[in-house]
Symmetry: none
Subunit: 216 residues, 4 copies
Amino acid sequence: MAQPLSRVERRKQETRREILDTALACFGERGYHATGISDIAKRVGIAQGTFYLYFQSKHDIAEQVLDDLMARLSAALTELPPEAPATLSDYRAQAGRITDTLTRVFSDDPRAARFLLLQAAAIDDEMAERVLGFYDSAAALQSSYLQHGVDAGYFRADLDVEAAARAVNGMLLAAAMYQLRDPAPDAFERLTRTVREIIYHGLAGETSRHDARDGA
Amino acid sequence: MAQPLSRVERRKQETRREILDTALACFGERGYHATGISDIAKRVGIAQGTFYLYFQSKHDIAEQVLDDLMARLSAALTELPPEAPATLSDYRAQAGRITDTLTRVFSDDPRAARFLLLQAAAIDDEMAERVLGFYDSAAALQSSYLQHGVDAGYFRADLDVEAAARAVNGMLLAAAMYQLRDPAPDAFERLTRTVREIIYHGLAGETSRHDARDGA
Amino acid sequence: MAQPLSRVERRKQETRREILDTALACFGERGYHATGISDIAKRVGIAQGTFYLYFQSKHDIAEQVLDDLMARLSAALTELPPEAPATLSDYRAQAGRITDTLTRVFSDDPRAARFLLLQAAAIDDEMAERVLGFYDSAAALQSSYLQHGVDAGYFRADLDVEAAARAVNGMLLAAAMYQLRDPAPDAFERLTRTVREIIYHGLAGETSRHDARDGA
Amino acid sequence: MAQPLSRVERRKQETRREILDTALACFGERGYHATGISDIAKRVGIAQGTFYLYFQSKHDIAEQVLDDLMARLSAALTELPPEAPATLSDYRAQAGRITDTLTRVFSDDPRAARFLLLQAAAIDDEMAERVLGFYDSAAALQSSYLQHGVDAGYFRADLDVEAAARAVNGMLLAAAMYQLRDPAPDAFERLTRTVREIIYHGLAGETSRHDARDGA
DNA sequence: AATGAATGAGACTTCATTCAT
DNA sequence: CATGAATGAAGTCTCATTCAT
């Protein structure tokens, strides 16, 4: 039961994903506009016409590549232990995990980072809107974490949660961009550690600041 | 020292600048790839061929537009009172001025922001390199400010200055991007104030934290 | 003489006809070039590949659609009471029946008319040749009717039968084309009645023939 | 004064017309769909891109070719001695002149005839509408001639002028189509003479009209 | 016999750049 | 110096046809 995926259907899904991945690779490496459908097709090993059996247009695949990537990132950001951190220490641990996850997604496929950070917003007004919208939703997610911290008492009560969320994400964005040019793990590690320290000192209340030094 | 700029020569410079500004406008509004040389020429009021008397190619003008923009931003960031801030209070004031300057440059011409933040890096690998290089040099500049703060004693002695510089700039970047979609001054003001607070609390030493609350 | 048409064979013939009819419908509605094999297949409810089990190519089915249509029209024109009209009155009655038949064929399926009158000749040189050839054979048929009228004495003895046949058919053609845009039966009825009158007065009669020779 | 046609402007007009004529030739010979922009460009001796300096699209030039052709035909039909024929003889003479004119237009460029009669209506629904609309306006023009004949008394008073106009034009259409395959002037001459006779006898005359009413 | 995914040639169109005037 | 018509390479997309299943 529930095996509607015949062999051929599965093969189609595989091809679809292969095209999607290849497109992300091409877009990330050469850029959206410098990439031709023929480049993608050649690299996948299909005819140009075959491409259009899986995607309606070049713009369509760009949308899907972006959606797919944003979905993966959202999943990475969301699929954390559901229990919210109760103490600042817990928060620090969780923040570390989030950073690690993002790092992994982006270092696993640097082309994904290049595409999201450098290319996607330049494709189109609509696409730019999507990217900025993604930043917004990431800010909303970050907001909820910070708000929880305020409620739990380990962040300052007078924190402008929304604004702080954007600021925090900006630091993560800077880290991601930094990694684009200098993929050395060391430098990146130093940067993320500092970011966590800034968050810690910058957001925390007066009372909980004595155990500040960060090990990871 | 002489005045070799004959009237003709001056006129040429004016035209050149007019084309440059128009190109920035077009690139910011429609995007680099969606902008044709004919769009720029039409808007300036010159013939298409005339464009090539002033710039070698489309890529060439993109480079010059970017260089010009980055130069203006560098100038805005650098041309501050040369005497470095001696106290945290001074630093806060200076940080406010920098933010104000950046804000002014970008809100004066939102298309410049769109071009730098969304478009420029997608033109080309070389152009992406330039943009990332600009971020690097901005980080270096920020570094020098922060290092001065460490030396002056109002920032933590163990601060990883380089990493912190990138983090701080990341927050400014986030602010600039936020402004792209929601140009309401209020929201932006809230965001920059929070950024300054985070810097203040996040970077400062233990001793100077009692006068933290920020009014502006 | 046997019944070699097994159930399977009969089914094939049905499918073939279904495809043929659907193709005529599509060609008439959207035009030959705007119709894709996939349109026909989808409408019939078969796979695209299946189409090629019944017809060799798109051109092939167009030929067969046209042949089929012309055959139906020929049949309609020919399968009249075999006894030729003996008097002008009889002729008038027969002409009425022919007109009725043509009308019925075309109003039953306006797409057939659109295909024959507007589309078919544009497919191909060869197809144009077929259409014009059909007009020729229709003229030949009309010729034979008119010749009979001359022989029977109710058409002018000096009638250029071949030329008149083409002229008469031209009027019918005009009527058919008129019906394409304005399918109102009234207008069509008025037109065919007038055509019959013109034939009647234009071809018949002793009385008005004395000044017939034409100078220009 | 009033010499806004600089040398270059005149050259552009020439090129435009050259493309237009070549397009008519190609469309008439090979058909609209079989003709590529590259065919037209090659034959004119320009680059493909140049074509698009003069016409917006393939569809655009088809429209203009058709409009141009219909305008030429309208001019040919309309630019006759303005004094309407007063007698049936005059009418016969005028009808002869009209036929001659049409003949000339079409035999001068048989491809024009092929395009108008066989191709144009198959390009598009909109184009078909134009062609049928042209037939309508030709019918309206013919109507006015016939109406004049009725008013002047040399056509039957009870003539359904509109319907007769379409019938007459149908005969001309048949003549034009006949000429497509058999361009021999003799055969065409015979046909047009017969058409004029049918018009003459079919529309004129008091004497033979008493048994005209048609039941079906 | 039927399927429908795959093919690939070819169509239209755009646009950065050149060059004769 | 300015013009803008001309160029032609390159890109996206369609669709009749084939073939492995």
